[in-house]
Structures are given as C-alpha cells and as structure tokens.
Amino acid sequence: MADMDRNRRMVAIAKQNLIESGEREQLIQLLRTRLLECGWRDQVVMQCKDVVRDVGVENITLDKLIAEVTPKARQSVPDSVKRELLQKIKTSVSNQSSFSTSPFNHN
C-alpha cells in the first residue's frame, strides 16, 4: 500500500517536472503529430461517428463517447509510436534532478 502511494507520488513529481520544464507540452505535440501521421486520429474520429450514430445524436454525451471509444483507441495506438514516446519520456525523466519541494505542501 505504501509502495503504491510512493509510486504514485513519484509519478506525480516526474509529471510536474515535465510540465515545469515545458517538455510535457513538446511531448504532447509530438504525440499528436505521430498519431495524425499514422492515421490513428482519423480512425478514432470514424469510431466516434459510429458511436454517435448508434447512440443517437440527441442521447450522446461526451462521457458516453469517451467510455465507448477509449479502450479500443488506446489499444490501436501503433507500437512504434508508443516506443518513441516512451523513449523520449524516459530520457526526459532521467535527466530531471530530484526536486526537494513536495508539491503537496502548498496548503
């Protein structure tokens, strides 16, 4: 239990460092580009259209859409894209110096 907490906290710190350095924004842009290039985005758009058609335009909410489409969309991300992003994230995180300030103390 404590390990889980610790992991979660480490991930949180790493994420915040990425935001602060601006790298997170760059990684998001890179991911967006790759997903667009390989056609994933268009695939997901089509999936969304299908869901909207099935559920009906009047009944659809963003939540329903997210619930329906997310699992398959996640799964269909190409391995090469995952690998590339993972590599970049690893590099960025390993370059981070450890921050002593805990973000949880701002209250």
Partner: protein, 511 residues
C-alpha cells in the same frame, strides 16, 4: 456530445459573472507560455481531493477548486457547493452539472481560440489548429439558393470532356486536356482563386478564360466542348500561333504558360521575366531551376549559374558531339555513344558534362584568360510539375524530319540522380544527406514523380495528328482524341511514342 441547445445555466453564469474567470483560468492553466506560469501550473494543477496531478482535471467556475472527473471529485464539489459549472483544464470545455454534459458556448470558444493561437505563436508552433468549416449565414443562403449537388465517387467521370477540333486545333486540344488534368492547377481554378488583373478589358484575360474552361470541364456535362474563345485569345496574345495550320503542341504549351504567367501578373507594371520574383500559380507549379556549372579545364575552377526552367527539351538522335565527329572526319570513328532509348537516357545526356570545344572557349575569371571548359547542367530546384519535351522534330535548313524512334518512359520517375546536390561537380560539400533522410522509417525523398499526361503525335511532320492520354484519380487513364474520350490502359500509355510527358511530384499520403 456538445448539445446544440443553449445552456441556460451557462447564460445565467455569464450574465452574473461575465467571461473574466474563464479567461483567467484558461490563460493561467491551459495556454501557458512563460516559465513562471508553467511552474504555477505544475504545482497547482492537482485534484484537491486526491492530491494528484490527474488527467481530466476540472476547475470550478465559481470558486477555486480543482477536481478530477474520473473519480467524480469535481462532481462531489458541485453537489455540495451547488456550483453547477466546471471547465476542463485540457481543452477548456465547460461542463454543466445540471445539463449533465459539456455545453457549447460561442463566447467562451472565441476566448479559447484566441488564447490558444496566442500561445501557439509564442511557442513557435508551425501548424495552427485546424477548425472545421462552419458556414456563415450568407454561405448557408448561397447553399440553399443553389440546391444542385454533384457527388464525386471513385468512378465518376467528372472532369472528362471532349474538345471539338476547330480546324487542325488538335495541338491545342491536347494541351488543354493536359492542363485541365494537372491536379494543382485544377484545385486552384476550382477554388476560384484567380483575381483578374485586367482592369480595362477582363474579357481579354486568358486566366479568366482558363477558369471558365475548368468550370466547363467539371460541370458534369458529357458533350464535347467547343473552345473557340480560348482559341481566339491565344491567337490574340500569341500571334505566331495564329492561323489554321497545324502548330506544334509544345510551342503552344510554352506560349500558353507564358501568357497565363503574364496575365496572372497583370498588364500594369513592368514585365518581369524573372520567375524568381513571381509567385503566380504558373510559376508555383511549373517553374524549377537549373544549375549550370562551367569548369575551366586549366585551373578546374567552377563557376555556377542558376536559371529558371519551365520544361525540359530533350535531344534525341546522335549527340552534337557525335554529329560533329561524323561531319568533320572522313574516317570511321568507333564511338560507343549510343542514341537515347529511354527518358532516363535523355536526362542522363541532358545532365552529362559537355566539353565545350576549342572553338568555344570561356573566359575564366581565375586564369584571367580564355580556356577550354566543360559545362554541366543539373537540377537545382524541382518544379512541382515536370514537363518533358522529346525533340522529335528536326527543323534544319536542309530537311524537316521526324524522329519516330521509341523512347520508353516510366510511370514513376525519380529525379534524384539529376539533382545538383547529387551530381556535385566538385562542390566539396556532401550535401546528399537530404537525399537519404528518413522520418518514421519512411524515406523522405521529395524527388519522386508520377506520370499524369502524355501528348502524342502520329503521322509525319507534314500531316500529323495530336492525341493525349490523361490520368484521372490515381490510376485511370483515358485517351483524348479531340471530341472522343476512350478508356485506356496504363500499358497503352507507356507503349505510346511519347512527345510531351507530364509528371507531377508525388505527395506522400498515408492509407
């Protein structure tokens, strides 16, 4: 999804509190640009309940509270505090807890778009966000007033029309077919992008006439079109082509490009013959540049000049060198220089270093004297559409002859071997790195071309007839013989004699 209904809760909120809080939250936590704001974002974008920087974090619009959506912490806050609106901190969309969905609001969207554009600009993001086209009320009215719709399917023949021969005008008809099937030119005219520069008499503008021609071709009519207005304009602007005799299709092509180029720039102002200064659609599509390197045979110094080029006129038959040798010597010279048999052979000859001979010495600036030299042409800037002219007609004082030998040409052409960077000519810099660069495992070769039109001449130099093959969609070929349009196979095209060959750059597209 985003309901098309207006959210009354959002309207009430805007009436009571205005748009300020939305803008502030957006600027501080979504479109961050400074180091300081990034730091603030990193530290503060945490769910107040679970104390973690979660995905789908939402900010309450009424008070300072961040809650995650997935664990419903923002929902709990909304219930207990009776704050029914929250904005998502990834994209700025507003969720209404009363309506139970994300609601669309024009005012907020305007703020979001503005902030995002500003942030993108600061960060130097090259591609701006794509926003789907939404018609204005004016555009909606136009659509309602013009209810006829044309559906373009994969096997639709829209864009194909025959052209009536007005008396030996097959040379013009073929070029018109080639031009109306040049994708970029077609897109330009169908998007109505031409603005006429003829103040005095717009009916004289060849570009306007071209635009009308495209309208005719893509009108869906299948009956042949009679291009008498076009013919009249060409006669007016290119006098040397006037008259009812058969003209050379290549000459017509060049004259047409020239007139179109001039008319794009208007009749006012000085005629600037340098395409480097022109950005008209003709130059954008057809103009490339050739590099000419002259090497002094004595000091090996290289002097390079770059010149614009619209089309490639390629010699056939024995080379000038060969002919000079045969003419000057009575003894039989064994020469291994054969005549070109393919387009590639022609291009190789075109870019081969040529010894300029002792009668054509060039003044070398480093040697400060006249020296023998070699000259070599190569491609510096590739045009989007490469047009090749196989010089089959010899007009010399002694005879008129047509070279009818078969010259094979490919469907796909890679111009890389003829590029200035590849040929190098002692440039020293090994700048062929751009030739083999890869992105995502796919070769970044921007030098590949695809055949889309072929103009053929059948018959003799005195009596002949021009026909054209054009490609529609990706792989459907048609033969255009004046008013007759017939389906053709790609093999038929590649087996044809070939006089004018039109290739366009291949655009890499994903499946």
């Amino acid at each position: 999804m985003m309901s098309s209904r207006i959210c009354e809760h959002l309207e009430t909120f805007k009436a009571n509190y205005g748009l300020n809080s939305y803008q502030i939250i957006y600027k501080q936590f979504i479109s961050v640009t400074t180091q300081e704001s990034r730091k603030r974002k990193a530290r503060n974008c945490i769910c107040f309940t679970c104390r973690l920087p979660v995905l789908r974090l939402h900010s309450c619009l009424y008070c300072v509270f961040f809650g995650c959506f997935t664990e419903h912490h923002i929902h709990e806050h909304s219930k207990t505090q009776k704050h029914n609106l929250a904005m998502d901190l990834s994209y700025g969309m507003v969720y209404c807890f009363s309506c139970e969905d994300y609601m669309h609001d024009k005012d907020l969207e305007t703020i979001a778009k503005k902030q995002k554009r500003r942030a993108d600009k600061v960060r130097g993001v090259r591609c701006t966000q794509y926003y789907r086209w939404e018609p204005t009320s004016q555009e909606l009215q136009v659509l309602k007033d013009n209810p006829q719709r044309k559906r373009i399917s994969e096997n639709s023949h829209i864009g194909l029309r025959g052209l009536i021969n007005l008396g030996n005008t097959c040379f013009m008809n073929c070029i018109v077919q080639a031009l109306t099937h040049t994708p970029l030119l077609r897109d330009y005219f169908l998007a109505d992008r031409h603005v006429c520069q003829f103040e005095a008499d717009p009916s004289m503008c060849l570009v306007c006439e071209m635009a009308r021609l495209f309208q005719e071709f893509y009108s869906g009519k299948s009956s042949p079109h009679t291009p008498f207005k076009l013919l009249h304009l060409v006669w007016t602007h290119a006098r040397h082509l006037a008259g009812y005799e058969q003209q050379d299709a290549h000459e017509f092509f060049i004259a047409t490009l020239d007139v179109l180029h001039r008319h794009c720039r208007g009749t006012n102002g000085p005629t600037n013959n340098s395409p480097h200064h022109c950005n008209c659609i003709i130059d954008q599509i057809f103009t490339g540049s050739l590099q000419s390197d002259v090497v002094c045979q004595s000091c090996k110094g290289v002097s390079s000049v770059e010149d614009p080029i619209w089309d490639f006129s390629l010699d056939l038959g024995p080379s000038l060198h060969m002919r000079q040798q045969r003419a000057s010597s009575s003894t039989q010279t064994i020469c291994d220089e054969s005549e070109p048999k393919s387009l590639i052979d022609c291009l190789e000859r075109f870019t081969r270093p040529e010894h300029l001979g002792s009668s054509a010495k060039i003044k070398c600036s480093s040697c400060q004297s006249y020296q023998e030299s070699t000259k070599q042409l190569s491609l510096k800037k590739l045009p989007v559409v490469a047009s090749f002219h196989l010089k089959r007609f010899e007009h010399s004082s002694r005879f008129h002859k047509k070279i009818s030998s078969f010259i094979s040409f490919p469907q796909y052409l890679d111009m890389t071997p003829f590029m200035a960077s590849k040929i190098g000519c002692k440039s020293g810099s090994n700048d062929s790195s751009n030739v083999n660069s890869y992105t995502n495992g796919v070769a970044n070769n921007d030098n590949k071309y695809c055949l889309f039109a072929v103009v053929n001449h059948s018959g003799t130099i005195e009596t002949g007839h021009y026909t054209a093959f054009i490609r529609q969609h990706r792989d459907q070929w048609f033969k255009c013989d004046d008013h007759l349009i017939m389906r053709a196979s790609v093999q038929e095209v590649l087996d044809s004699e070939g006089y004018l060959l039109f290739y366009h750059k291949q655009i890499l597209e994903y499946e």
